[in-house]
Subunit: 405 residues, 2 copies
């Protein structure tokens, strides 16, 4: 049969990051391209004790089908943790999903019709762009600066699309240690965003995979903490995940939102996969119940803080003048801006020749602009390789800058 | 915010089966309602040895993100097993999914536009109906008899919709031990279906969760074995799963199909969940590699054959005249047809009063007809409870028939 593919996927293409990742899996390349946790950050010994125990004593439950909304014991543990953020929610406000990625797909299927407007920061997480493309929504890019998404421009766009009778229905944001820039939205902007949601009647999606990985600065309130998620009138949908704290291989995340919306997401999730992997849900629930999360998180933070510091220091020491980068307080990424005339996609080819890799910035936008930027990941490489890789990169950039003079 | 839900989910409702299942989770009820494997059929001891070993020696791989197409070692093991069915396929013909349910969603997103026609047997698996509703496809019901989907009626419908310029784009079938009827499509009809696909240019989805659970009769060739899946021009998409043989809690299945289609499904799956649970994939790959599957399958077959036989014998002994049922050679289900004037939904209420449950037949259709039918599952209950439950059911039905005389 020829290619009888549906309209909704005709514009989709393999994620550029994933294609680059394949290229950078060569063992001789130091890759800052992925967004992978460090394997030494996986609590494998604790997980081994837990799985062994579960398969001995609760196999008939953990190997069986589960409910679509997720294990009660896991949802209860998550609620306990979310209460630290002043969130007053019940089991009806939460559904377990196969990673935050599935969460975003499920809620987008429920909320968005083809042609609907979705505001996203510019640049933004590629995985979000492909979901909005799948549901045929139109993205409205909103510039981001050191304090996160620009609220003045967002308000202007909200007004503009309201006038055009196609109001923005959803604002997608990674407010804390954003992917790809590492930038955090300031408190005043968080409050402003909730005010705008109430005024213009749109959903906020607060995607927060990195929030627990803070290495410096003071924690901020979650956006959803300024909202009223326990009520039907809540505007914020929160996406959480254990991918960056326990294991991405488990594919377990969660959605918190207003009950009426959660109910519809559960129905959509029945079509998507019936239920999330029950075994992994049970393992994580035990991990939380045994109070292993907080000490484990401290270990990761210490490990990643050191990696961030090493990368920033080495960049400061070796990158030539004219190159700028963000100073993230947490997360996994640093965002680099080159002089306007340097194209980071071309630079990548030369970097790979020198055995170092990153993700070109244009991957994180729909228009393919911001050609002079790229993303660096600091969590996955060894400390030594961070120094080595940044030095290689500095050499490539310096040569490029000299050529372009 | 009010209910700003997308059109595609406005017609969706919580699966009736799942709602009934909740009702029947009362421990005093003997439930033949679910489609759950028997927990004693889970190879928990073998799985415990494997997980323990994986978390000791390969934790950095099995807890990490994986590729969207799935672990190479698992795909290779599946290819080996599929070669028993004369299938000449490569790694490019197969993608691992989070259960066959996700497989059906992914391929439907890729193939079907809103308004596209999909032929399904009547009755059909509820989970398939909700996927086609999610992508806003229109289902065309094709009656099923003791030899499976009626090919004459299918051909008539193919011709009719071709004339109407909205040709049937996909035929969905569970040809072996179908859910809900337990019926198997005959060999001549399988061959005919592939011929029709070539003539009318539609995809066949061969959903085969129960194929390995045969208790009597001779195995038939897979539909895809009559096709040429290794070539771009293949018409059959095969859905497999480990839910009925190893563990449904693992949510691991696979899709086999033409390379060009598999490539697009991989792109769609990136949006759905990035990758399938890597830990469970690795566990299953090891289970297969250690050649544990065949002996384990023999154990399940012996267990389920006995349960089927006990249920059929007890039904024969106790159900009143005027009640008919299928004689499945495998799978998990028996389909019961009552006299026309009995509504099985009303009957269920009375059955629950007598502490026994089933799924009313109208759940398995979009029109809600076939009101005088219901589905029985024989895999989940203990042998004793099968006898007890069928006796209770016989009492309820006998009383109903006497009243309606």
């Amino acid at each position: 049969m020829d290619d009888p593919t549906a309209r909704r996927t005709s514009s989709m293409r393999a994620s550029e990051i994933r294609e680059i990742l394949k290229l950078t899996q060569r063992p001789d390349i130091i890759s800052f391209a992925g967004g992978l946790p460090n394997p030494e950050a996986f609590p494998h010994n604790e997980l081994r004790v837990i799985t062994n125990d579960l398969l001995k004593t609760r196999y008939s439950e953990v190997l069986q089908y589960g409910t679509t909304e997720g294990l009660v014991c896991l949802r209860e543990e998550i609620i306990k943790r979310m209460q630290r953020h002043r969130l007053d929610i019940t089991l009806d406000n939460i559904v377990i999903v196969a990673g935050a990625q599935q969460g975003l797909t499920a809620l987008s299927l429920v909320i968005l019709n083809p042609g609907d407007k979705v505001a996203v920061s510019y640049p933004t997480f590629t995985g979000a762009l492909s979901v909005f493309s799948l549901v045929e929504a139109d993205t409205v890019p909103i510039p981001i600066d050191d304090n996160g998404m620009n609220m003045d421009i967002l308000e202007k766009k909200l007004e503009e699309h309201l006038q055009n009778k196609n109001p923005i229905k959803l604002v997608y944001t990674v407010p804390t240690f954003q992917n790809p820039t590492g930038v955090t939205m300031s408190q005043p902007r968080r409050i402003k965003l909730v005010e705008l949601a109430r005024k213009y009647d749109f959903y906020i999606v607060e995607d927060n995979p990195y929030g627990e990985l803070r290495y410096s600065g003071e924690p901020l309130e979650l956006i959803i903490s300024y909202d009223k998620p326990g009520e039907t009138k809540g505007y914020t949908i929160y996406l959480g995940t254990f991918s960056k704290t326990i294991s991405p291989g488990f594919r377990v995340g969660w959605i918190i939102g207003p009950q009426n919306l959660i109910q519809r997401i559960i129905v959509a999730k029945q079509s998507l996969d019936l239920c999330t992997n029950v075994f992994s849900q049970a393992i994580i629930a035990e991990f939380l119940k045994k109070k292993l999360m907080d000490p484990h998180k401290e270990q990761i933070r210490t490990m990643y803080k050191q990696k961030r510091d090493i990368m920033l220091e080495t960049m400061k020491k070796h990158l030539p003048a004219g190159v700028n980068w963000t100073q993230p307080d947490g997360g996994l990424f640093i965002w680099v801006t080159l002089p306007k005339n340097i194209n980071s996609k071309n630079l990548l080819e030369k970097a790979i020749d020198e055995k170092v890799a990153f993700v070109p910035g244009q991957t994180f936008s729909t228009d393919g602009n911001i050609k002079n930027t790229f993303r660096l990941n600091f969590s996955n490489a060894s400390d030594d390789n961070i120094v080595k890789g940044i030095k290689r990169l500095a050499k490539v950039i310096t040569t490029e800058l000299e050529k372009s003079d």
